[in-house]
């Protein structure tokens, strides 16, 4: 249950004795703006590297070692139309450590977030330029992982008319090049004073005590940005992009617009339809494209609820592209026509439920559910709700959901041909 610490600053405590760890996550949420994502990402590197109390990486790491090897990191992501910066820590539980690690972890986070290494309201020059250089190198080398390159390429193509969605949550080399030291400071102050803040703490903890630690952050009140999570792109003509790269195995990725509601009946129908299409290892794509036709090494699909998007990803021989594309279309068509048995449908539901139950064994997932509950308070998020939602989906609803899969983008990464 979310506690409001002050206006725009929330705390969710999830007490559990299931784990050996305590997890702390401090989320900063701001409306997604293409111009800021690279700066916010660079900011995470700069804050992670040094602070006034721990001015070098080795001192900061040494402190974490003293905390029984606690892990700490700051990352970025998207929540629909919001950009998220998350500072998180995993600590050994106070009970196993026989020490007040949670209190020390919270104090550490406060230092790192509020007291970075700054002189006259400027980040350390050497750290700024080195981290900018390193991040640039990292962003440029992402294409060495061809699956990542294809997924980002499809995203850029699908959201061609929505630049903030087209841009990766961590920015681009071009965006990063424009970030100045001054811009970074402005983004930092904006994040601390204007972002919506959600703190999630999970573990064998006392709620009142955690509330006290969280209040010590002393975040100022701010306007609670409405969680504009839903991303709806109007259906348009099919866009295609063929990109050449020196690869042996071609990557063919597709994007479909789907008709969904966040964890409503349409969403559950789409979840099951996607599972049958390419979400499961018993799906149509896996069994018919990969196994039976031996046309792909991998073939799967995934459903992005907030963005009303189903993506298909495959690794294939470049010359088989047309055949694979046709076969993928046929698999979707079969679902639309109801060409699946009741037993298959139940198998898909059982698989979804098992995966969900298993996910509830992971602190990271449970803490994420805590965040989603605070962002979507009107939506049910319990395991029982999910199981009931999946079980209620009928064959007709699956067919209807599949009917609404509109192919919008075809991206292919392949070796240059003749």
């Amino acid at each position: 249950m979310r506690i409001e610490l002050t206006k725009g600053v929330g705390l969710t405590v999830i007490p559990t004795t299931q784990f050996k760890t305590t997890r702390i996550a401090v989320h900063f949420l701001a409306p997604l703006a293409k111009a800021d994502v690279a700066a916010r990402t660079l900011l995470t590197s700069v804050l992670e590297t040094a602070s006034r109390k721990y001015p070098t990486q080795s001192e900061l790491s040494a402190y974490l070692e003293a905390l029984f090897g606690a892990s700490f990191g700051i990352g970025v992501g998207k929540e629909g139309r919001m950009h998220r910066v998350t500072a998180s820590m995993n600590l050994l539980s106070d009970q196993l450590a026989q020490s007040d690690l949670l209190a020390q972890g919270m104090a550490f986070l406060k230092q790192v977030l509020f007291n970075p290494l700054m002189v006259n309201d400027r980040f350390d020059e050497a750290i700024f330029s080195r981290e900018q250089h390193n991040l640039k190198q990292y962003l440029e080398s992402l294409q060495e992982d061809r699956q990542t390159q294809a997924a980002l390429g499809l995203q850029a193509l699908y959201f061609q008319r929505d630049p903030s969605q087209a841009t990766p949550s961590f920015g681009t080399p071009e965006g990063l090049a424009k970030v100045t030291a001054k811009h970074l400071v402005a983004v930092y102050h904006q994040m601390l004073t204007q972002d919506r803040i959600e703190i999630v703490v999970l573990g064998n903890v006392d709620e009142a005590q955690v509330q006290q630690f969280a209040a010590d952050f002393d975040f100022a009140p701010r306007a609670l940005a409405e969680a504009a999570l839903d991303v709806e792109v109007p259906v348009h003509e099919v866009l295609t992009d063929q990109v050449n790269a020196p690869v042996i195995q071609a990557k063919l990725n597709l994007g479909y617009h789907v008709d969904t509601d966040y964890f409503g009946p349409k969403a559950y129908a789409t979840i099951v339809a996607n599972e049958l299409f390419g979400g499961s290892a018993l799906s149509k794509l896996f069994t018919n494209v990969r196994e039976k036709a031996s046309l792909a090494y991998y073939a799967s699909s995934s459903f992005d609820q907030a963005r009303h998007l189903v993506t298909v990803q495959t690794g294939i021989d470049a010359e088989k592209q047309a055949v694979v594309l046709k076969l993928i279309g046929e698999q979707l068509n079969q679902i639309q026509q109801g060409d699946f048995t009741d037993a298959q449908l139940q198998t898909m539901k059982d698989g979804l439920i098992a995966n969900r139950e298993t996910a509830y064994d992971a602190p990271r997932f449970l803490a994420r559910v805590g965040l989603l509950e605070s962002l979507w308070p009107s939506q049910p998020h319990t395991l029982a709700d999910y199981i009931a939602g999946v079980q209620a989906v009928t064959r007709e609803q699956v067919m209807q959901a599949a009917e609404k899969f509109d192919l919008q983008a075809i991206y292919c990464l392949q070796k240059e041909v003749g």
Binding site: K20, A66, L67, F68, H133, Y138, S141, G315, G351, P363
Partner: protein
């Protein structure tokens, strides 16, 4: 059934070896939903030569056969074992390493049925010319995919320099050419030898009742007959010889940044017993002291732009070989190699290696270890990977506590030999568009 209690970790391990030789290891975790089970054989990519069961002469099989066998175990005359798991909502998978092959499932329901499926499909081979030939296409795709992964090419290339005369350097998947020669007969021969219950272990971690699991496994095994077990004669032998190391090689691939990896070939036998595990722990602490995030040396290199966050290091100890790796992306790969060589040449005399840092790193390692016991998959994989040796995952805490500063110094003396070092650079080729 033997019960092993680890009160400081809050863990209990039950073990039993059945009359057919199968060793069963069970960790009950009543608070969790997931049950994770691994059926593993002490057989991997390096085991291409052996004496077949009931024979006397050593045979040589093609590279990649253990992995090929793993893929083919799932397919039966009229069904795919994969589907049997899926039909209950469970996830199944398998993997092959240099020395081990494991089949696994994760389930939140129908655990008994899935345990029987796991035991049955791995113990019931079905290979035909047709199914074997079809698999060559699928694995061919997998081999191609790895060819596009520069990190994998770097790692495998380095192993080639460390072990030019040992199968440790052969890709687990084999090559397109080597798998082309695989026949159903070869698969049956390898399976009969290495999938004997006495060469296998079953690990089950989750909300299970140990007695019930043992009863189920005993009943399952009672329905099957196996030849009497004898000891396995393997062709592969230890390779601890520094003279075969190829000191330096370079490759050109379509990468954005140069990549470098330096390897140190281990020259001492490290086996799966208390001393061996302790030596591994000491070696990993040594590498962390010198190259970890809190190392002043690492800080100096990072500040100078010699390394960045991609820098990583590791130590691997396997049946018949062990080695350390260090490296990452580097603007000046030659300078990084020189810097690493210099550290290695210093042997045990390292400014970063002080008793204070050692104590702090050990304290951190104890915490990280306990934190790693948070998921069914990490516990199950940890238990299974130690299941052919004399120590188990939960002994790690005690061994770590017992590691001394002197043990780390000894590890430095044993590992750091400039003559046992290989380096490999991957430079970018032209023609990659940004």
């Amino acid at each position: 059934m033997e019960k092993h209690d680890y009160p400081t970790l809050g863990e209990v391990l039950y073990t039993q070896t059945l009359t057919n030789g199968l060793r069963v290891l069970i960790v009950p975790k009543p608070d969790f939903h997931e049950t994770y089970a691994l059926f593993a054989t002490n057989y991997g990519a390096i085991d291409t030569s052996f004496v077949p069961i009931g024979e006397t002469e050593m045979v040589q099989q093609p590279a990649g056969i253990a992995h090929f066998l793993e893929h083919k175990m799932f397919e039966k005359a009229d069904h795919d074992a994969f589907d049997l798991f899926g039909e209950t909502g469970a996830n199944a998978n398998a993997y092959t390493s240099t020395t081990r092959t494991a089949y696994l499932f994760s389930a939140s329901r129908a655990v008994d049925q899935n345990l029987n499926t796991l035991l049955d499909f791995v113990q019931d081979p079905y290979f035909t010319d047709k199914t074997v030939n079809k698999e060559k296409g699928i694995i061919g795709q997998e081999i191609q995919m790895y060819q596009d992964d520069p990190g994998w090419r770097l790692y495998l290339g380095l192993l080639g320099s460390l072990y030019p005369n040992h199968p440790a350097s052969v890709d687990v998947t084999g090559t397109i050419d080597s798998i082309a020669t695989i026949t159903p007969e070869m698969l049956y021969q390898a399976r009969a030898r290495f999938y004997h219950p006495s060469n296998m272990t079953l690990t089950v971690v989750g909300p299970v009742d140990p007695e019930h699991v043992i009863d189920l496994v005993v009943a399952n095994q009672a329905t099957k007959t196996f030849p009497a077990s004898d000891s396995i004669l393997r062709g592969v032998d230890w390779d601890l010889d520094k003279h075969s190391v190829i000191a330096h090689r370079e490759l050109a691939l379509p990468v954005v940044r140069p990549k470098v990896m330096v390897g140190i070939k281990g020259q001492t036998k490290i086996v799966d017993d208390e001393a061996g595990l302790k030596q591994q722990i000491a070696t990993r602490l040594l590498l962390e002291a010198l190259f970890g995030d809190s190392s002043p040396l690492y800080q100096q290199w990072y500040d100078a732009g010699l390394v960045d966050d991609s820098f990583d290091y590791g130590f691997e100890a396997q049946r018949t070989f062990n080695f350390a790796t260090l490296g990452g992306d580097a603007d000046d790969p030659t300078a990084l190699i020189d810097a690493l060589q210099q550290v290695i040449a210093q042997g045990v005399d390292q400014p970063e290696l002080t008793p204070e840092r050692f104590e702090r790193l050990k304290h951190a390692a104890l915490g990280k270890y306990a934190m790693s016991l948070n998921s069914m998959s990490s516990i199950a994989n940890g238990i299974s990977s130690q299941s052919f040796g004399a120590v188990n995952l939960f002994d790690y805490q005690r061994l770590l506590q017992n590691v001394s500063f002197e043990d780390v110094q000894t590890a430095a003396r044993q590992l750091f030999d400039p003559e046992a070092v290989a380096s490999l650079i991957i430079y970018p080729t032209d023609g990659e568009e940004a």
